[in-house]
């Protein structure tokens, strides 16, 4: 009897196991994945007829690996690798990083003695790794084309800036115009007071809570909070100076203008937040849907949000753009006129394990991206990236990237990248969440920021 029961139990359990493995193989439909590598939809054709790039014939037959930490361009990079191989004879294998952080992946690859020849990393990763492992690229040809977007470590350049990413307050022009019944000129808002008055008008005209704010720590801790460093004078040097002064204790956050100005606009956004009742319960995917559907008119985010908006139903012909992060009521203040557009994702070439030939092939690949007609096109059209290189004549196609591209070229963007410890977004993101939820006040938030910097060596 017992045997029979056991046999039945085992068979039932086995069936359940089989069913579950089948189910877990399916994708769960409720959370769209912003990093879905399959998200690439239609592609613009690449013209490969002209190519004036000079290839080094001695590199023919070399194999290199490329670690990609920007999941949304995985397919595009593979295509680039194929084109590059056709022309140069160098085989590029693109390795994706899906679950790990780029740095964790690099650690495991280096420890297994099998690091990638080229790696796409974040700036903090490059700073941690480059001097010991990176090829010095200060003398590369592309350097002159990326002026203003270079990261120097002790005077040397170890990394190649892959793209420009910008952030600010995204608006949906159509929604605003529909609500107000008049044309909307984003340039007409120049100060925080004007922005707030504009929000009030939207509220009167039926958009009850016109702003979306992500609760994610990377958004709050990096994209919001870092304005206090970046808007010091709009340069990377200035931003670094603020950091050094806070660390040294010579800059008091309580009296630092940009700190209180930052909190002023943050409070305004908080007040008009669509998720005001439960700001920490806000859902990222829903924000994209709200903005596309017109429940909200603004979303604080960057051009990387475009795939989410597309999933929410936005199209490339729709009119989206960025407003600056209005810090005060001074019309002359650059922070009220410009949006932040800085290089993100740095490419490093390994010198520790890679052979001379592999290093040369990797460096040639980077120059190919900048100087060959095919590489230029593919960077913009296939990868959908805003190139930081002045010689690249192609324009991005989605409205958010296009807006940033236009602002960069019209001097309406400032590029201040601050270098902060890697856990800055996580630790201070938590402090910002607490402030967003109304569970801490300005003083406590500033104390957390000061404490964080005091702990750094």
């Amino acid at each position: 009897m017992r045997k029979k029961v056991m046999a039945r139990l085992v068979s039932v359990v086995l069936i359940m196991v089989l069913m579950m493995t089948m189910l877990t193989g399916c994708r769960f439909g409720f959370a769209s994945d912003p990093d879905d590598p399959n998200a690439e939809e239609k592609k613009e054709p690449i013209d490969t007829s002209t190519d004036t790039f000079e290839y080094d014939a001695s590199l023919n037959g070399t194999n290199i690996t490329l670690l990609n930490t920007k999941a949304e361009i995985q397919v595009a990079l593979e295509e680039m690798g194929v084109e590059y191989e056709k022309k140069s004879g160098v085989h590029v294998e693109v390795m994706p990083v899906s679950d790990d952080s780029p740095y964790t992946k690099m650690i495991s690859l280096y420890n297994s003695g099998n690091p990638p020849t080229i790696a796409i990393l974040d700036t903090t990763d490059v700073i941690a790794l480059a001097e010991e492992k990176g090829v010095d690229m200060s003398e590369e040809k592309w350097v002159s084309e990326a002026e203003g977007y270079l990261t120097k470590i002790n005077g040397k350049i170890y990394s190649f800036p892959l793209c420009i990413e910008g952030r600010g307050i995204i608006y949906n022009k159509t929604v605003i115009e529909k609500a107000l019944g008049e044309t909307f000129d984003p340039a007409s808002i120049t100060t925080l007071d004007e922005f707030q008055a504009f929000l009030d008008r939207l509220v009167e005209n039926g958009i009850e809570k016109p702003v979306s704010m992500a609760k994610e720590d990377w958004s709050l801790g990096a994209h919001h909070l870092q304005y206090i460093y970046e808007t010091y004078d709009g340069t990377s040097e200035g931003a670094q100076k603020v950091v050094e002064e806070i660390k040294a204790g010579t800059l008091d956050l309580n009296t630092y203008n940009r700190m209180s100005e930052f909190l002023d606009i943050f409070d305004v956004l908080k007040e008009y937040n669509v998720a005001k009742g439960d700001p920490l319960g806000a859902d990222y995917d829903e924000m994209a849907i709200d903005l596309a559907d017109g429940k909200t008119a603004f979303w604080f985010n960057g051009n990387w949000a475009w795939p989410n908006l597309v999933e929410a139903g936005a199209e490339e012909t729709d009119e989206y753009g960025f407003l600056p992060y209005f810090m005060n009521n001074d019309k002359e203040d650059f922070a009220n006129q410009m949006i932040q557009g800085a290089p993100s994702k740095q490419v490093m070439v390994d010198r520790q394990i890679a052979t001379e030939k592999e290093q040369a092939a990797g460096r040639q690949f980077l120059n190919w991206i900048v100087f060959s007609e095919i590489g230029q096109q593919m960077l913009v059209k296939t990868c959908n990236i805003i190139p930081p290189f002045q010689n690249n004549p192609y324009e991005p196609s989605d409205p958010l990237s296009r807006d940033i591209y236009e602002k960069v070229h019209a001097q309406k963007a400032f590029s201040a990248s601050v270098i902060v410890p890697n856990d800055h977004w996580a630790v201070l993101g938590a402090a910002m969440q607490k402030y967003l939820a109304g569970r801490s006040d300005r003083r406590e938030l500033m104390e957390s920021i000061q404490d964080y910097w005091d702990e750094q060596e």
């Binding site: 579950m20 952080s101 941690a128 790794l129 700001p279 920490l280 402090a431």
Partner: protein
């Protein structure tokens, strides 16, 4: 002659296993202990000996101690609820009721779903399903997402862990109950023991071996919780639900303080090893033969 043969047998059967055990458990463990005394960052080619500096860093890391305290709280809730619930359900499921097998399989299913997937499913339940129930019914309890409030997020973690772990423990308890000798039960009934007395004086002592295993499994699993923690709350809101294991990972890889993270992992290991050891020793003493 006999001892010689034993040596050969030992080499044949135990050595491969011993070798694997050494290679994947003992060696990395010793290496890990060694790393706590260096300033290695995970990738650098040189490792400098820094003495007890990393442990000094652990002492200063207030967040680690609060996450450890939270872990203790979590362990207490999870271990008690899981075992009481599993014991009770297993008891009911071995009394010959209809559809027993169906229920056993049903309760066991959550355990087959990986912690990460499970966490995401419940995240959806807590932050969307509950909220929309709250919206349509006006119940205060479900008005805002449970995951945005520190206390409720902690309760959510306990609920999900209990839901996941109970099934497995039910299975072990069911096996224990089925192993109880009918003769002993009958004898107890004839002697006049019934209900609670029978449970306390006959069933519990005979079930002690199952209890030992279940307590050990729930204790170690609850202490080392990471996957559910990561996918359900990821420490949110504002780092209040970050358990010890997750903090260790964050320390090592996000804050990039490898040595401090490794030292914290070692401390966590010692705590878990001591507590589980004491528990096994204590419950083993209670075990009896029928």
């Amino acid at each position: 002659m006999k001892s010689k043969n034993n040596g050969k047998d030992f080499c044949m059967f135990a050595l491969p296993g011993m070798f694997c055990f050494f290679a994947v458990v003992i060696v990395p463990f010793i290496y890990g202990v060694y790393l706590t005394f260096t300033d290695w960052n995970g990738v650098a080619t040189v490792k400098n000996f820094v003495g007890f500096k990393n442990f000094g860093g652990v002492v200063k890391d207030a967040q680690f101690w609060s996450s450890l305290l939270l872990t203790f709280k979590y362990v207490i809730f999870v271990v008690i609820i899981v075992n009481v619930l599993a014991f009770a359900i297993a008891y009911l499921l071995t009394r010959g009721m209809k559809g027993e097998n169906f229920f056993r399989a049903g309760f066991f299913t959550p355990n087959l779903i990986g912690g990460i997937v499970l966490g995401y499913i419940w995240q959806f339940v807590f932050s969307r399903v509950f909220v929309s129930i709250g919206e349509s019914t006006g119940w205060k309890l479900f008005e805002v997402s449970w995951l945005s409030d520190p206390t409720n997020a902690f309760i959510a973690l306990v609920v999900v862990s209990v839901w996941q772990l109970s099934g497995y423990m039910i299975l072990i308890y069911v096996a224990g109950f089925m192993g109880l000798s009918e003769d002993v039960m009958e004898a107890a009934s004839i002697d006049g023991a019934s209900g609670f007395v029978k449970l306390k004086s006959i069933i519990m002592p005979l079930m002690m071996s199952s209890i030992t295993i279940c307590l050990f499994l729930t204790l170690s699993r609850a202490f080392m919780v990471y996957d559910v923690n990561l996918s359900l709350t990821a420490g949110a809101p504002y780092g209040t639900t970050e358990m010890a294991a997750m903090h260790v990972y964050e320390k090592a890889f996000t804050s990039r303080q490898f040595g401090v993270g490794q030292s914290e992992a070692l401390i966590l290991f010692i705590i878990v090893a001591c507590i589980s050891g004491i528990q096994v020793y204590l419950t083993k003493r209670q075990e009896v033969e029928a």
